[in-house]
């Protein structure tokens, strides 16, 4: 199970990475493995204001449908259009090419308070 040290995590199995004032987010390697073959992603609209816990999209695999919940509050700045054509990127490269969206956080502290890799590792070992 790949859980990179340099990322932040949520209990909904999202990872986040800071790039300047923007955070990039996607689903973890553990999550993509649990979902199996992803066949589509319902991406959020660019410009949407989101609050932590809002449903911002869906990921559908052959096995199941899973909701995407906003990991931080803020504004959706960009979405990964490649996923429209190649949803399998989420399985093949969850932390790089399979990123889902970029968010401009409303509050920097939201990001800092998210789990580190050790917390996430402990969480999935228990679940």
């Amino acid at each position: 199970m790949n859980i990179p040290d340099n990322l932040k995590y949520t209990k909904d199995h999202l990872w986040l990475r800071k790039e300047g004032e923007i955070v990039v987010c996607g689903i973890t390697d553990y999550a993509q493995n649990e979902l199996g073959d992803v066949v589509f992603v319902e991406l959020p609209q660019v410009g949407t204001q989101i609050r932590v816990g809002d449903r911002m999209g869906d990921i559908e695999s052959i096995k199941t449908v899973s909701n995407l919940y906003a990991p931080v509050s803020g504004e959706i700045r960009e979405v990964n259009q490649e996923l429209e054509k190649k949803p399998e990127l989420i399985n093949q490269s969850p932390y790089e090419e399979g990123w889902i969206c970029k968010i401009k956080p409303a509050n920097e502290a939201d990001f800092d308070s998210l789990w580190g890799s050790k917390d996430y590792q402990e969480f999935i070992e228990k679940s």
């Binding site: 199996g36 073959d37 589509f40 319902e42 559908e60 052959i62 399998e88």
Partner: protein, 346 residues
């Protein structure tokens, strides 16, 4: 891994997509040892099968077989097994894994009630069953046994030997992809299993999980027990009239089917194609264009070949003129769909 009728079965080894394309372009293997495997034998075997199944067996030659129905007295489906003649009085039966115990008990009851001179033996724990599918299957398996198996016709089986191990090879293709099934004794089969696996892997074949098996049967419009079939569904509702021999004087479940054929079925199985995103899942309700409920989804999947979201489901026969435009209610959205013929792929 998934749990199925008490057996732990893999949904996929690497990914459904990868295994699907390897199988369709080259070949793939499934361990289907969890299916129910029975030997039905005795001097009354043929009359017994005539009475308990929906089609006829007297003229079936050794090695030949077909798909059939076991029905309850209401015409509902107990199972849709495969039955093959292995000797003058010996028949091999393969059932759904979930139906194994139910079918075994039901057959025992019928033997006793009818006073047939027949023995039913459950071979499931003793035998392993592998399914090999894909365009290069015949070629690869013939090479492995050093014996041409390309002359086997559909649903025909024959015993071959490999290092003195007896293996029954049958040509079984339930999907558009050709395939062979291999049946052999578990006890002496370990070495054979490993040699075959390593040979086929070397030929570019891949082990496949049940995600692929389900997708292939789904694309081929093949009903699955527990989804399209249960004891409340009849063969006519499934569109499987060709598996019924009406000329047979009697078999369990015949009278209600005769009536159903005369009066028409209450529901029928259809194929549906979704416009846009979303896979319809088991149990989702179907509405017609007027917003009235008219049926339910039994299976849904995404076809990597057609690149479409597809579903099978039952709709009420009274409404089957209004199926141009359908709506499937998914957990949080409405999926627009239209009726398409089955199979989705042939």
């Amino acid at each position: 891994m998934g749990l199925f009728a008490g057996w732990e079965v893999p949904l996929f080894y690497r990914s459904i997509r990868e295994e699907y394309f390897t199988l369709c372009n080259r070949g793939g293997m499934f361990d289907i040892s969890h299916l129910g495997k029975f030997l039905i034998s005795g001097k009354d075997a043929v009359p017994f099968l005539e009475f308990t199944t929906s089609n006829t067996w007297g003229k079936v030659a050794r090695g030949r077989g077909k798909v059939t129905f076991f029905l309850n007295p209401r015409g509902g489906i107990i199972d849709m097994p495969f039955l093959s003649r292995d000797g003058e009085e010996e028949w091999l039966l393969t059932t759904n894994s979930e139906a194994r115990e139910r079918v075994f008990n039901w057959l025992q009851t019928q033997v006793q009630a009818g006073g047939f001179s027949v023995t039913v033996r459950d071979l499931t724990p003793e035998f392993l069953l592998l399914s090999v599918q894909g365009p290069y299957t015949q070629e690869a398996i013939s090479q492995f046994f050093n014996q041409s198996l390309s002359l086997l016709s559909r649903f025909e089986g024959t015993w071959v030997e490999y290092n003195s191990i007896k293996v029954r090879v049958s040509r079984m293709a339930f999907s558009r992809v050709d395939g062979l099934e291999l049946l052999f004794l578990r006890e002496e089969g370990e070495d054979f299993f490993l040699k075959l696996s390593s040979f086929l892997t070397g030929q570019g074949f891949s082990w496949c999980g049940f995600g692929v098996r389900d997708l292939l049967r789904f694309e081929a419009g093949f009903p699955l027990y527990g989804r399209e079939m249960d004891e409340t569904v009849t063969p006519l509702e499934l569109g499987k009239e060709k598996l019924i021999d009406w000329k047979k004087e009697n078999f369990i479940g015949k009278p209600p089917l005769v009536l159903e054929k005369k009066l028409g079925s209450k529901k029928k199985l259809i194929g549906m194609e979704v416009e846009g995103k979303g896979i319809p899942r088991w149990g989702y309700p179907i509405y017609n264009v007027a917003g009235l409920p008219c049926g339910y989804v039994t299976s849904g999947n995404y076809s990597f070949t057609l690149k479409k979201n597809l579903a099978m489901g039952f709709i009420s026969s009274a409404q089957d003129k209004l199926v141009e435009e359908l709506y499937i209610l998914a957990s949080k959205k409405k999926l627009k769909a239209r009726m398409v013929p089955l199979p989705f792929l042939s």
